[in-house]
Each structure stands twice: as structure tokens, then as C-alpha cells.
Symmetry: C2
Subunit: 346 residues, 2 copies
DNA sequence: GCGCGGTACTAAACCGCTCTAGTTGCGGGA
DNA sequence: TCCCGCAACTAGAGCGGTTTAGTACCGCGC
């Protein structure tokens, strides 16, 4: 005989399938004595529920979906995703909820996967990452009527729940700090230009330098790779006058930038200050260590999972959770600009 | 009306459910005309298969499982996992196979998840990572009779397929290289002592130093964290005479070790050579950049996925794939030892 | 004209579980 | 004594597919 079913248990105990189902699900309708007997036999026979059969009846899949539209090869480079995944897992696995993960080409394919997994009852909800400027995924998910939480916001994601950090405030705090150190020429190596948070950071930077009366700030968009981060840094350091401080949208790019500075003979932090959005082991262990906006991505993952589980439990609820603004962890890569070139040139 | 089912299609076309099923699955039993008509209506109604219903009938789940027994918080630290995941994804998503991911406490919980997912038809096969010295998971998976591939080998994993790199050969090549540079005191900051590949590397190191007539080599086990990597490095550099070269079992630990050397005033590579197992962006962008054993973890993930898909397609097949031995990428962190202390002391 | 084999299709069982409607037996109130 | 209500349990429909057994019809050879 193959895997035991509730029918097998029923036969062995001498009751009906229904009674077994009631007993196993802690539902009224059986006496305590019978329930105990059924549970015992179930354990004895090593019975386990068949989730597909349950799903057919419309029950929970006990899984959530995460579909990422990025080249798979870049995932390994970014500590961000790995940490987010860890945080999600830590929270989800406490409730025995698994995660369905898939990497696809683009948003269109992503939406198709949302459709498939939803109609197949494969998952109970989705986590949507990398919200874009005009993002077709919001409407698609709403139309499907499936629970979902958007990571990154605030903004127009219709009725979808969201978890977001205040990128604007974070960028402002960085620029304020650099200005206080005496920097007047701040540049920005940004991430993918289509992403909302990239745009928010670029705006915040522009607004800040205007407010503080600094020199106009450039934001160079990249694809988040170390290669483009290095290239952007080379571009910036070749300018005359060159910036005295550069803010990077990821830790990997900051590290790459640090390498380029070394290669070009620009001393960090004496001649160039470097700040990274996103903290990780990378920024801590280099020399000089890198001043970073730290935002506990692991905890963020946990919060996202929390909100999603909540929305799954009560689809009516609208959650919009603002996480703590990333705080600046000052390390060795930032200092007042060199007097010779930094301050007088403006 | 909710989601359309094949019954809805059947009604609309005016045929039976069976005919629709045949048509949709490209199976004989319907005329081409009817098939075309059914496919058209299915597309029109936006029909999608319900995987739970299929799974009930015993079909593929079109998903594989990866269960990792490590503290979730360490996952984000190791680029290795992220890259492996990327590689797996890249290969799996080409076949529209998804991945079920779960992080658990220990091997026992891991086995329980294998049982559950198998009996629930949630996945078609498993990827087993971190094989341990006496590993209960092999027997459990074999007993379940579910396709699986072990990452890391070679050795006794019974009938399970495996994909493995030759750790022994890799370690030998590192020690040969260091010896050729003139190093006589080589130390090793190892990973988790319970893992098979840790043991293989430790053995290979011991054998190599004996063969080459070098000083006895120490291997300090760690938990792969940057903290323990740093601590182990401090221990090693406090010895007298201290080693002139240290091999690290991961890139993160090598980076941490580099930091400690800086903090203790030990010049790299002049006074200390550093080699990392596992290459990643981390070893490339630091200064000095770190000589590493590079093994394209992304490609490794693809190979693992390949073998698993093969074993799923033909459960009788026994695959045992040896991947290319990691090759040494020499960067700035290795050099001949300083004459003063390095060579004469032995 | 009849039987034969093959094609195109239908009806219904089946997968494992949930859940509703219905049945049984029993104690208690009128 | 009879009926009511409740607890304990059963029977069976239903979830959305797949698959098997069976049927109707066709052209063909004898």
C-alpha cells in the first residue's frame, strides 16, 4: 500500500472519513475518546496531509510567492536580496509557510506567473519587489484579488499593502551630514533608473543641495552591478572639479567605487568621502570601512512577511507599514574634504 | 463565475470534459478541428490549469525543493548561497519549474519537511546541501524514494545523485602554490567542522604539508561568520612564529581576516599571504584584492538543477557529476613571504 | 450485407480531503 | 409515554483535473 489516506485510517479505526477529518483538524463532531484513537492511529500509520487535495477544496496553500524580474546572475551579487530572503524565511518558517521563488525575465513574465500561481492555488499571496515608476504589476495583482504586499513605497499601489522605508529622509540625512562636514560637491551613483526608490533618492538629493546651497549634484544611474558602479565612479572622478563626496545606492557599488579611487590615486577619506545606501558585511570589513545607511534588511524581510501573513489572514485589511528610516553609521570613509581642492573651488 | 474550469470549456464548446483534457494536453483522441476549437475557447476564457487538481491525479508539481538547515541570518552573509540560488533559478525557470524554499533549524526538521512535501506532492525532487559527516538525510530521502541531488561529494550518499567539486585537489593546488612562493607555515581557517567538505579540505592540507615537508598546519574550524573568521585570524597571528599564509574556507572570512591583519599591523601580502576558497565580488573589489579559488557558483547551481531535472525525468538514472576543480585566481593578496621572518624560522 | 478495425468522442470513476445534510441513539422535559 | 434536542457520527457530493471503459460511427474488404 502506498501513502496512507484518511480512508485507510477510517477503516482501521472503524469510523467514517468525515470523522477522521474532523478529528485531525481539531474540529467538533467527534468525542474526545474517538479523536484520541484517530490521532494515535494516524501517527502510527505515519499519515501526512496531502496539500494538493486540501488546496482543491479551497484551503490555504501555506506558501507565499516571490517573483523577481532581474537577471538571475545579479541576484548573487547583491547582499540585499539574500538578506531579505533570510528575513522572510525566518518569519515565514515559524508558521510553517513556505516560499515559492522564481526569477523571470521581465514584468510581463512576472505577471503571467502571478496569474498562474494564483489560479493554481499554489500560493496564498505575493511579495512584490522593485516597484517601478509606472508599474503594470499593481493593477494585475489587484485584478487577481490575491493578497500581496509591495516592498518599497510610499505611493500609488492602489489597494495593495506595502512596507517601505523613507528613502527621501535617508538621503536628506546623508547630504546634511556631508554638508556639515564641509562638502560642497556631492555626487550620486544611483541604481536602476526605472525604480521608484531610485527616483525618490535622486529627487531628495537635488532638493537637498538646493536647500543647502551646494553645487548642483549629478546622479548617474546604473544597473547596480559592481562594473557599472566602478565605471560611474571613474566618470565622476575624471571631472574637474571632481566631487568630494559620492553617495552610492548599494554597498557593492560603494565597494567598487572605493577600488576605483585607489586605482586613480584618490585618497579615501582625505580626498573623497564615500557613503553607501545599504549596509552589510561588505561595508564593515573593508579598509577603510564604509560609512553606510544601515537598515537591517533581515528585519525588513520579517516585517514584510508579517504584513503579508496579516493580509492573507484578513484580506480586507489595508496595511501600510513604514519601517524605521535607515540610520547613518559613520565609519572611516567619510571626513571633511581636503582644504586644497574641496572647499575653495565652489 | 469564478475561474473557468475545463467543465466550463467543455460546456461552451459542446464536448465532454475528457475531450477538453485531451485537447489541452496534446493527446490523441480528438480531431484537429475540435482541438483547435477547444484551444481557442480556452484562450478566450483565459483558462489556466489548477496544479493542485493535477497533483491529486499524481502529475508533476513542476517544482523542486531546497531546504536549508542554517540560521536564516547567516544566509545573507554568504554570497555562496545567493549565487547558487541564482544559478538554480536560471536553469529551472527555463523549464518553468519553480523552487520551494524553506529555512529550518536542524537536520531533523529538514527531514520532516522532506516527508511533508513529498507526501503532499508539493515538489518533484530535492536539492540537498551541506552534506555532513554522518548524515541522516541521505537515508531519509532514499526511503522516501524521491528524486534528489546532493551538492558536495564525492562519497557515500547511497543511491542519490550528486554534483561535486574536488575540494581535495583544490586545496592541494593552493598549498603547492604557496609552497612554490616559499611559504613554510600555512594555516587554515576552516568552516563548520561537521561538514564533509570541511573535513576533506583539512585532510588535504595535512597531507600536502607532509608531502612538501612544510611545518605542521593548523586548521581552525569556524561557523563561516565574519566574526569567527576574524577571531581565528587573531588567534593565528598571535602565535609565534606566526603563519606566513592563511587559507580561508570562505570569501567573507578572508575579508574579515584581511581586516584583522590591517588592525594588527601585519602587511598583506608582504608579511602575510591570504587565499580564499570561494570567489565573489568581495574578493575582487577589496584592496589588496584577494587571491581566490574561483568556482563559478552560478554555473554550479545550473549543473545541480540539470542533474536534478534529469533524475526527475528518469528516476532510475544515477548521476554523479564532478564539476571542474576550482582554479586559483591569483590577485594581490599573495606574495613570497618576508625573508626576515618567513623562511629562516623553520 | 455483414463484420472488422479504427477514430472521435462520452460517461464516469478516481485522486485525498473537506464539508454539508442527514441519521442514529440517548437523556430529559412535558 | 412521547417527542424534542443535542451530541456523535455517516454518507456522499464536490473541488478540477486525468484516465479508462465504453459507444457511435465510418470506411473497407469479402
Amino acid at each position: 500500500m502506498g501513502r496512507p489516506t484518511i480512508a485507510d485510517i477510517a477503516q482501521r479505526v472503524g469510523v467514517s472519513k468525515g470523522a477522521v477529518s474532523f478529528a485531525l483538524n481539531g474540529r467538533p463532531g467527534v468525542s474526545e475518546a474517538t479523536r484520541a484513537r484517530i490521532l494515535e492511529v494516524a501517527r502510527e500509520m505515519n499519515w501526512r496531509p496531502h496539500s494538493a487535495a486540501r488546496a482543491l477544496g479551497g484551503a490555504r496553500a501555506e506558501a507565499v510567492g516571490l517573483v523577481i524580474a532581474r537577471p538571475a546572475s545579479t541576484l548573487g551579487v547583491e547582499p540585499f536580496f539574500a538578506q531579505l530572503l533570510s528575513g522572510l524565511q525566518a518569519r515565514l518558517s515559524r508558521q510553517q509557510v513556505a516560499m515559492h521563488l522564481l526569477v523571470v525575465e521581465d514584468s510581463e513574465a512576472e505577471i503571467e506567473v502571478y496569474r498562474e500561481w494564483t489560479s493554481a492555488h499554489r500560493v496564498d499571496g505575493f511579495i512584490l519587489v522593485d516597484p517601478k515608476i509606472r508599474d503594470p504589476r499593481f493593477a494585475a495583482l489587484e485584478e487577481l484579488g490575491v493578497p500581496a504586499v509591495v516592498l518599497g513605497g510610499p505611493g500609488r499601489h492602489g489597494a495593495l499593502a506595502s512596507v517601505w522605508a523613507d528613502d527621501r529622509e535617508a538621503m536628506v540625512s546623508v547630504v546634511d551630514y556631508l554638508a556639515a562636514l564641509g562638502h560642497r560637491r556631492v555626487a550620486h551613483v544611483a541604481g536602476l533608473p526605472g525604480l521608484r526608490h531610485t527616483r525618490r533618492r535622486m529627487r531628495a538629493l537635488r532638493d537637498s543641495v538646493k536647500r543647502l546651497g551646494l553645487a548642483d549634484a549629478v546622479s548617474l544611474p546604473t544597473d547596480f552591478s559592481d562594473a557599472e558602479g566602478a565605471a560611474a565612479t571613474r566618470t565622476l572622478l575624471s571631472r574637474d572639479p571632481r566631487p568630494t563626496a559620492v553617495v552610492y545606492d548599494s554597498d557593492v557599488m560603494a565597494l567598487a567605487g572605493l577600488g576605483v579611487a585607489g586605482e586613480m590615486g584618490v585618497a579615501v577619506p582625505a580626498e573623497l568621502s564615500i557613503v553607501a545606501f545599504d549596509d552589510s558585511v561588505l561595508t564593515r570589513v573593508t579598509h577603510p570601512s564604509i560609512t553606510s545607511l544601515s537598515r537591517d534588511t533581515f528585519a525588513l524581510g520579517g516585517q514584510v512577511a508579517d504584513v503579508l501573513l496579516e493580509v492573507i489572514a484578513d484580506p480586507g485589511a489595508r496595511r501600510d507599514l513604514k519601517t524605521g528610516t535607515p540610520r547613518l553609521v559613520v565609519r572611516q570613509s567619510t571626513a571633511p574634504p581636503a582644504l586644497g581642492k574641496g572647499t575653495k573651488a565652489v
